[in-house]
Amino acid sequence: MNDMTGLQRIERKPTNQRAPIYLDYQATTPCDRRVVEAMLPYFSDVFGNPHSRNHDYGWAAEEAVERARGQIAHIIGANEKEIIFTSGATESNNLALKGVARFHKGRKNHLITCVTEHKCVLDSARHLELDGFEVTYLPVQANGLVDLDQLRSAITDQTVMVSIMAVNNEIGVIQPLKAIGEICRERKVYFHTDAAQAVGKIPLDVEDMKIDLMSISGHKLYGPKGIGALYVRRRPRVRLEAMISGGGQERGMRSGTLPTPLCVGLGEACRIAEAEMGAEGERLHMLSDRFYNAIMAALPEVYLNGDRERRIPGNLNLSFAYVEGEGLMMGIKDLALSSGSACTSASLEPSYVLRALGVDEELAHTSLRIGLGRFTTEEEIDFAVERIVQEVSRLRAMSPLWELAQEGIDLKSIQWSEH
């Protein structure tokens, strides 16, 4: 257990002249070395099946799993009995939406979510629509936040659940969880939140925020990939139908042999994040301010997407007007970042999240997501700013749109040929 100082650097391929800088912490985070250290014994030495209830190997594994469950519960103010291990936030979200809806089928048939949710929440909702559920997709305001009055008026006596994410994966904005929780509790509707991007980054408390279900991801908080959790409230009890059954593990809500090392990794990741959240949050705040201020000082016509204040410090989503995002990414190959959500950037469509904020399609095409995290350094930030400024300036010089704008021509006045 050396190198406990958090000075982990992301290893870079020696073949590159200048090592690329990782600025894609919303796509995934590297597994913290302390987490890896904590996991390793459970791959080999303590390898038992945690469900083997009659020998030491099984007990040792079970004990480790239960310790991890406690660590996960602690970071969100829950009881360890309320934590269900899953294979990741995608499964947690699928289970929360489909599991709760299907359990209540026949009694209640309405679900409320929001247009900027992660794809797996939206796809789960679409599947429920095919099954006969009604789904309300709330719009968001220009700052990316849901309108509480619209939420209030969307709830009917048929509504079983409201699912609103804690932090958006593309634009980093934090939804008003406590206010949403209060509305839901008052109207006796379950409140589920996809907190994959939030856990370990902002304080969360399921009691204070009146959250009934919460999805957690391992690999978004410096834990391993392939593990996640779903918080399921016990009092008042949330009922849901399992999606993976057979074995009866996880209180019957999720069967399958628990992967002990991954559970341990998620627990340790939560423990570290909880211990370091305050200091790390301030550090990231300082770094993202440094980044933002330097970019804004050097380049005109750069726009921040999402609320300036109510956002996690590790995310900046910027539109560099008149420079197409993918073209820009190609020029800054020494920076690893994303021009949209990792899951969808292989497609050529502009981000549906940015479109939902009312960002023009042309501006949506010019946006980059800059994700900062635990191993980002000031030096990396300064280098990233320098490279982005250089490349945006070069590409603007060859952009016909920039030229037209400089001539004072309104791009909207031009009759563009669609193709």
Partner: protein
Amino acid sequence: MAYSTKVVDHYENPRNVGALDKSDVAVGTGLVGAPACGDVMKLQIKVSADGIIEDAKFKTFGCGSAIASSSLVTEWVKGKSIDEAATIRNTEIAEHLALPPVKIHCSVLAEDAIKAAVNDYRAKHAVGKAKAAE
């Protein structure tokens, strides 16, 4: 997504970036694509009295393949007559740059840009001839 070395070369060292005077009667300008679709190309050609393209410039808003496609066609059209230039097909561009299927539309846009520039040049001259005939 891995880009071919030719795309990377044109992206990093684009040929003939810039602008020609669009009010010049010897200059044809094509502006194709749409900002909302994520790519816009502006291609300009300067045509000599005997109908040969003696200069070409471009500006492009788009991905690396779009920039490479437009950079490439500025090289190809130079020295050609406007009729020859108008016969350049997108498939030749795509093949030369080894564009993957999702980027074929960039080559289509480049072909459109040549045609638009040639048409603009011809339109100017049709007007010129019409005026001369009056």
